[in-house]
């Protein structure tokens, strides 16, 4: 069993730690860095996009890619024949869950703003459906370049009640997030983020999955792989974490429901997960 780590940063370390705890002792785990040859193994668990790319370049063993965005996984493996078997546990949340979360937090939202870049490869239709199911509409605006971000942002914010972040680092990154948040704040439009970082930076709320949660799911997958000698289809994470920014809510004069209320509402609207 080879564990291929993208790097030794904190999320990966947390992931590795949790995985070791969850795995039975019979399963031997060898941890590698993505550079160099991967070598033959029963199963290669590639953590992060870099490890996934590395594993994909030397596909001699079955690959389980974890903590990768769905778009990344798709661009890497979609359409490729992998005889040894390949699967993934995505980092991002399914659209339905995102939208359910959005409406659980802000039930009165009518227009959901969305920014996308030409490079964005997302299946938008589930999102549109989900929003439509909640009785709202999506206001999408494309961003041609970083310089044009402000005008696109202005436009999308002026026509929406909430801005929903998408996992596209061309739009949402460490550099731009502050200005995006400032602009949205000036328009009194809350932002729904994709990680704890968004909330820390000033997003109203975020729904995401922690590395530990993914590690638990991965451990289950590995055990299942041991037993069945086959990989399940790629899946979204089962578990998720909710983070709220009450300070921002107060600033925007939004009454936030409690986390448990949010989870309850999400369950009520038909969201699958716990």
């Amino acid at each position: 069993m080879t564990l291929l780590l993208g790097d030794s940063s904190a999320p990966y370390q947390a992931f590795t730690e949790t995985l070791r705890q969850r795995l039975p002792a019979s399963i031997r785990l060898s941890v590698r860095e993505p550079n160099g040859s991967v070598g033959a193994s029963d199963l290669v668990v590639a953590v992060g996009m870099k490890a996934a790319e590395s594993a994909a370049s030397d596909p001699r063993s079955p690959i389980l890619a974890v903590m990768v965005p769905k778009s990344g996984y798709d661009s890497l493996f979609l359409g490729q024949k992998m005889p040894q078997g390949i699967s993934a546990i995505y980092l991002d949340q399914p659209w339905e869950r995102q939208v359910d979360f959005l409406y659980a937090v802000l039930p009165d939202v009518e227009r959901v703003g969305l920014l996308y870049s030409p490079e964005t490869r997302l299946e938008i239709s589930p999102l549109l459906n989900s929003v439509a199911n909640h009785g709202g509409s999506v206001v999408a605006q494309s961003v041609q370049s970083a310089e044009r971000l402000f005008s696109s942002l202005e436009r999308v914010l002026s026509g929406s009640d909430v801005l929903l972040a998408i996992p596209d680092s061309r739009i949402y990154n460490a550099t731009s997030i502050r200005n995006i948040l400032l602009t949205s704040y000036r328009h009194e439009v809350p932002l729904i983020g994709l990680s704890q970082g968004y909330v820390n930076a000033g997003a109203l709320a975020a729904i995401f999955t922690l590395p530990e949660q993914i590690a638990e799911q991965t451990a289950k997958q590995i055990v299942a792989f041991e037993q069945r000698r086959g990989l399940a289809a790629p899946s979204y994470p089962e578990h998720f974490t909710i983070s709220l920014n009450n300070q921002v809510a107060r600033s925007l004069e939004i009454r936030l429901p409690s986390e448990s209320d949010i989870r309850k509402r999400m369950r009520n609207t038909g969201g699958a997960e716990r």
């Binding site: 996992p167 680092s169 990154n173 550099t175 997030i177 970082g197």
Partner: protein, 651 residues
Amino acid sequence: MRRIGIRTQITALTLIPLLVVVVSMEAYFLRDRFADLDNDLQEHGKLLARQLAGSAEYGVFSNNQAFLQGIANYTLMQNDVRSIAITDSSSRILHHASDPTGKVTSSGSDDNIFQSRVDLLNPISIDTESVWLYQPIVPTQVGLDDLADEPKSLQIGAVVIEMSRRDTEKRKSKMLWFTVSVTALILAFPLYAIFLASRSITYPIRRLSEAVQQIAKGNLDVQVRVSDGTTQELGNLASGFNDMAAQLKDERAILEDRIEEATQALRAKKEEAERASHDKSHFLAVASHDLRQPLHALGLYIAELQRKAVGDEQQYLVRQVERSVESLSTLLNALLDISKLDAGAIVPHMQVCDLGAMLRHVATDYQILSSLRNIRLVIHPCTEHVHSDPMLLERILTNLVSNALRYTPQNGRVMIACRRRGDRVRIEVRDNGIGISRNDQNNIYREFFQLNQPQLDSSKGLGLGLAIVDRLVKLLGHQIGLRSAPGKGSVFAVEVPIASGVAESSMAGTIDSETETEAVTDNSILAGKKLLVVDDDEMVLNSTASILLAWGCQVTLATSLSQVEQYLQHDMSWDMIISDYQLENHATGIDVITMVQQHQSQKLPPCILVSGDTGPTVLKLAAVSGHHLLHKPVKPAKLRSLAIHLLEDTE
């Protein structure tokens, strides 16, 4: 080298190191502070730029002019900020603002200025007025925990701040002035201290030097005041100086006492000497008077005796007595002269003398003697006037002539001649006598020295003539020389200064030799003449009377002034008056003449004064009163010739 005062030296020594230290320290301090100020300005500018860049991030991102203007104006309110420019990533100026109080710059043309001054690579530019600072605007990074690749953070713009250096420069100059003033104060204190200290040195020194000058002037009472402020060494010096001055004063007092004592002693000695001298003079005067008186009488008696003696034997005896008396008289005169000269009793009275008259007079005196001895006495006429005492000079000449006659054999020749030698006259007395050997030439001026000449025994002198000449020459300041060789005669030469202005000398008793020779045989004029003879010595009076009677005169005798007065009251008158100079009760012959003149309305008869005193006062009085003066002992022949001469004149 110029002499530098103590104060200047002390000041230089103290001030120069202090100045170096203070100035260097303050220069260092100022440099440091100036650098700090510049640095502060830069840091302040950097801080403002960073702050502005941070706050302008969103404004640049959103190209929000109002926002940018707000923060720019806020920044402009900060001290020292002169202008601000905010550019986007393509260096296009999004906003420009400048301090309205500062230099107004047009915003449009400033683009290039900003660009040319500073950029990312040269973030700081400094000119004389401003500091320009460039700060890129880089978006703040916010971690999103999304495990996505972080794109390189890009510069989205820049902030350029122009910081005015005006205030900084103002503060610098303020600081500079402050430092300079402090330096001046720092230097002023030691200067004042030096002033005080050096005053405590230079004042005492000045006082000391003044005191030294005072002492140099002889004022020993000087005391240098020692004040408390004086340094110890100078205090010691001053007190030492005072001690020295006091010591000097004491010594001088002692010395003065001693000098006073010595002076007293000297004065006593001098008085003693003066007394002795006076006694001696008195003795000499008395002696000359008292010794001459009898000799005078003796001469007159002998003359009388000679006339009355009968027979060859008696005549011979009388002639022998006459010769003895003559020798005695000559000896006495010479001895008295020497004594008076040695005693300093004779004071020369320098005046203009007619040398020619004097020589004629000398010649007259010796004509008879020379003819008796058959010696030719030749006088070369002389017209010079000399500066000398006439009496004493004549004495010198007579002595020389008499000396020459004495040592010249019969048929010899004695010549007197004058030669002008520059401003002097050389009076030569030549003879062709026996001459003087070289050895004897050194001795001839000694008293009682005589050449051993047996042939000339008969006219042997006393050996005092040349001794007197020598003394007189020295007394008058003239010079005497001798040229002589044995057997070839001698030449005595006296050099006398020529009188600058020629004036007739008032010489008493100059007589033409012709009249005398004429009178020798002529008795007739004396016969029947009435003569008044006054003398306090009866012996002299009688002898004079007897010889005058023998000459055929009518003689009235008086021993005192009062007796003369009695005669005058009886209306007596005389053809001639012969009076002794010194009479009783301090009366003189001049008083007699004056009295006669007062009583006689007619013309005053001729007067002859006879004196045993050769003192200068007598001579002078006689000269002043215009009367003739004869010295005792008076030779009868001389008296007779003078009397005849005077009587002839009156007729």
